[in-house]
Symmetry: D2
Subunit: 398 residues, 4 copies
């Protein structure tokens, strides 16, 4: 039973849904194989319309220039935006900027807010988040090689990062680096703002991902920090709090992420049903009369419902008792939701036959890009192990 937390959200959802169908879906085809930079002028036109509608940066408090939705409200909005690969970008709610905005709101100094937060929310600049390292497992975020050493009033940063998404064209990066190597593991790293024009910030390459080198916002950079020097004033929050901030960034953000997946899953489900209802498999016989297809539709419906209810349940728990107390629920939706997403996409493609692997529908784009859902923000397996250990502790296993 899909219900919304308030009438206000219901109205907003209605507006977004209409906008998506009219303005966003028609341009998706180009996104699949064109350069992002080429699309940008068109996307900026769409962004202007969103601003006019008053829905720009829906998750950002009004005082910082957003639409001021609550955590729970934005969950539902994120679901709607997720229905298109372009949704979040067009509404100013895209990763990694959204996460960086959260950090800057919570930990940014007055100067940092003025210089980085304002234009970022406004969509005048973009940013990136530089945490993952190629030689260290993302699943173990306290194990990191990049260092930031104090030197006079500066930090001097050295290290190699990759999957610094959207670095190309970004104004600044938020970099995770070890500042306190002798502290206990969770207190070693800090988050530091590094303008991308700083000497020693070297964008080595955009990594080719699933067949695309990508460009601009739609890219994943390998970045080499070589004696990259920034003022200590660029530190975010207290020194050594990098891991804690990262957790805070990830926790509730995962809800919006998972709701984005739900949006993708719903879109795929819709496409699958439309195809099944209209495609002839024999003269006068629609594909949807076939029991195998019917079974898939029912199973997908059940699993999307299941995942969605779990995400909303986790969101409510975060809202009530905080992300820390809800970390079991967050981990559960992370892997369960990714599993449902992959399964629904796979079946939606199969129902489309040859059309399913083309870019005439957004399914192939989703299929390529969302494979990573099982990997980023902690691979499925890491979440499973973490959940199980926590549960087994209640049974006396340490």
């Amino acid at each position: 039973m899909i219900t919304y937390p308030s009438e206000r959200v219901e109205t907003i959802i209605g507006m977004i849904r209409e906008f998506m169908k009219k303005e966003v879906y028609p341009i998706e085809g180009e996104f699949a194989h064109k350069k992002f930079g080429e699309l940008l002028p068109l996307l900026n036109e769409k962004r202007a319309k969103v601003k006019q509608m008053g829905l720009w940066a829906p998750q950002v408090p009004e005082e910082f220039g957003g639409a001021g939705l609550s955590f729970i409200e934005h969950a539902y909005v994120s679901e709607e935006l997720g229905r298109s690969p372009l949704g979040h970008f067009i509404f100013g709610a895209q990763a990694p900027d959204a996460g960086n905005i959260e950090i800057l709101i919570k930990y940014g100094s007055k100067e940092q807010k003025a210089r980085y937060l304002r234009p970022l929310v406004a969509g005048q600049i973009r940013s990136c988040f530089s945490m993952t390292e190629p030689e260290k497992p993302g699943s173990n975020p306290t194990w990191m090689e990049t260092t930031a050493k104090k030197d006079g009033d500066d930090y001097v940063i050295n290290g190699q990062k990759w999957f610094t998404s959207s670095a190309e064209g970004s104004a600044f990066a938020i970099v995770m680096a070890v500042t306190n190597p002798d502290a206990e593991p969770h207190m070693r790293a800090s988050q530091i703002i590094v303008p991308t024009d700083t000497e020693g910030f070297n964008l080595v390459r955009n990594i080719s991902v699933m067949g695309h080198v990508g460009d601009n916002y739609a890219s994943h950079a390998e970045v080499l920090y070589q004696s990259c020097r920034v003022p200590q004033a660029n530190l975010l929050g207290p020194e050594g709090s990098g891991f804690v901030i990262a957790q805070e960034r990830l926790g509730p953000g995962r809800i919006h992420h998972c709701m984005r997946w739900m949006g993708i899953a719903e879109r795929a489900f819709e496409l699958m049903c439309e195809r099944a209802a209209t495609r002839d498999v024999a003269p006068g016989r629609k594909l949807g009369t076939r029991q195998i297809i019917q079974a898939w539709i029912a199973e997908c419906r059940a699993e999307i419902n299941a995942a969605r209810l779990m995400v909303i349940d986790a969101a409510q728990k975060i809202d009530k008792v905080g992300a820390y107390e809800a970390r079991e629920e967050i981990s559960l939706i992370k892997f369960y939701g990714a599993g449902v997403l992959s399964k629904v996409l796979d079946r939606a493609i199969q129902v489309h036959g040859a059309l399913g692997v083309t870019d005439d529908t957004p399914l192939a784009t989703f299929f390529r890009h969302e494979r990573a859902a099982h990997i980023y923000d902690g691979p499925d397996e890491v979440h499973k192990v973490a959940v199980a250990r926590r549960i087994l502790r209640k049974y006396g296993l340490n």
Copy 2:
């Protein structure tokens, strides 16, 4: 996030949980391989205690002798009772009596209520429900061979039924039989009360199910109705409404059923975790330190949560808009819940190793008896097809 609809329910759940651990779990072992009749004296002692606690027949309105819980409240109670194969029986909430009680409350005449309902609620008599036929698919309930023909003031019933569960020792059966063969399919059958001592009510055999012929309450009879004559006053509701009444009986009842499954799944999960946390696989190494086991625990946790949230969501929808409007949700939990149940049981057994197939835990009993969850009340596949067709209709496929 497990929350209860009211403090009252929470208190009751606490009471039940304690009772189950102290009074019910210890006698489960005997249930697995003993005759039910032999256990009955012991079970009746337990039933007496439940009555003293004021929790007898929790789902039955107080005016008819029960504890008067609401539909939603009983869902949570059913979950708790489901944790043991003996729970529902000991609390006077067992199928098929619970369903028959519902029918009698809603459709029973004053006389029927006095004669059948009162002693049934009180646990003085038992009853059975005689619908399924061996030669006709249960999935197509309008296709039935048993007939009830009017003759004077009586109905004369002829036909063969099976899986008339708990017929042995029952005081009466509610029989589905075709009374109006020329009506449209859904209006052909009626429900009629048949005392089991009526001539022509022939209990042919208790069917051997999963290795047990069974006896008494724990049995599934094949019944041959041979010119079995009962007064027309034994008709329940209007003639031809048998199918409608059956649907009403099944719809909300499925919620309690599915919550019972959740109770089983939670019990199995608990046993699995206890075993993992305490069993040595090597000197000083517990089974629960193994990643494969950890992955199972996390996956089971996710899936039980998912199924449980779906059942509660369906219950709330029934409560708000009725079972008819919620039939998609009901079908979804029917097959999704059965799937989760089977998977959790299977893994719980595997974690127990050889112990898992013994009757030293209730897992093997659950494994044998709950395989039928995929079959009774409509096989999974029938629900899947029904859901998909309903969905595809919205996309224009008829």
Copy 3:
């Protein structure tokens, strides 16, 4: 493409198949819920017929009283016998006697052969194998608590065993016990013959398994060895070789075991197809016209073929290079085959609907008894880990 290794085998298979249909299938129903002891006279009649056919103890060399089939030949025979839960017993090829016969042939002294092997092959006595302990994981066979200490000319055995299958009515047990506690782990235990009438051999109980305490051959005993004294002449092979002998017993035996599973799977597949082809789901519409059922049939066919080819491939490898070199293949079929078996049984039951959980077909018996296929002779997970470690060693991981 099912082919047989020789015309001789093809002829034997034909004979067995006919015998099974005519003599064995009709009595299966009784096996499900009757005491084995009650069935025994009937089974002995069948055994007599098998002896007349010259197919008794097919896997045992002619010099010891069997039909003398080769290792590979018996694989195919085992498949055929596996089609009924009674097949191996009726043909004198049942576990655990078959394994004990192998040990006695290979390691038995002249006296042991005369006293135990001859009557065992002849079916005059039965035996059991006492290895598994309740408090120690079967997956770690070198970790064992039962001891056999030398005292004069005797061993004095103390310890607790369970799943000593078929102990009730057995003339002797082969017991695994630690004789050399200070040797390296794989050289600590020995196998010793213990007549079951020896003082200190205490059959504590037949464990209730999947709802049945069982009896006679069809039972799984818990045995307490209390100062159980047997002559040292009862030792099998050299002292400390218990583990090696157990491996030898299990390795090639697993092939026959897995082929038995293939027989079960084929039987279930056959029943599933027969049901699908003949059961009406609507007037004039057979169940087998439903695509969901069709998909299951095709998937089961593929997976049975896959598993069967793997078993035969493993058998050929054993035949060529020995069980030790083929241990990867053996582990693979152990868990892959068990998985296929469970899946086919589950689907065959589902296709039968309510009939599937009754004992009117052998499916429910298979479903209950073969759940253990994932557990005995090493749980699936232990085999998976063993295979992976061996593979990863080739990639440099130790």
Copy 4:
């Protein structure tokens, strides 16, 4: 147990394996995101080396310019070539040319052989196969809209095709078109050679597939035939035999296809094991010590073995009794093999973490391109239904 049908094949496999590692693997990275046309000069150098090695066009009889391997021998070669997305192309064994070569050898007239076959085998020209239509399901190949009408000495072809792979740069297409609309369904279509420079052969677009419009050999065209006129001498085989020829092309070809998948699966398996054996997940702990990863490796090993044995079994059956008699086995490997392939690729990616979605390994390319394995040459579901119907016919269901 991997064995080869002859020493000759074993030697060839060894040569190919070395060549692949030295010459092919190193250039794969560029294939993922570069234009094929840009790579072509480099690929032609590699092709020249293959010709020098005497392994060019391994599957083509020597009299037509190939290496003359038998059907079974080429199955093993195809497996090796499949280990790289570039393998078949570099060895002159790539689809759709390989299939077209088969047709031309079997059905081509002397003139057709001279003009089309010779330069095609030599790699001087390329070709395409124009069968699939966007508005008609590929699963029902007798239902087709493209027509070829006789007009004087010519055929005039009209219709729309898509997934005419590699059309860009091809010298000719083999087109399926209805020539005999009133014949029974399987006799309506014919195969006709259409040089791509014929007027009315309109390459509308290269379809964007999984994010790439593609080019040259690596493309999938939509082609509009508009009054496209070719001499009747371009007919292949007898008029109306198009479907029969297509079946002949597909049947045995599927073996080589499935063995190609096995090569991909083996490559992915190898990469997965290498990664597991070398990647640190914590200081001093390799990923491969984790049980979840170990379970995957064992399961993948089992399933690849299973699929491979099934493919070889099917190949042997084709070799003995022909493709028609082996169509059940062919259908089984089609869907079972595709399933194994997808699963292995998915897990190999997961083991690689973020690296898995990059083009730094060939896994992402395989993941994108081989999703279509479930679709082309008949979707999985069509094969399942076909197999099941054939099986159920033996049980009397028509």
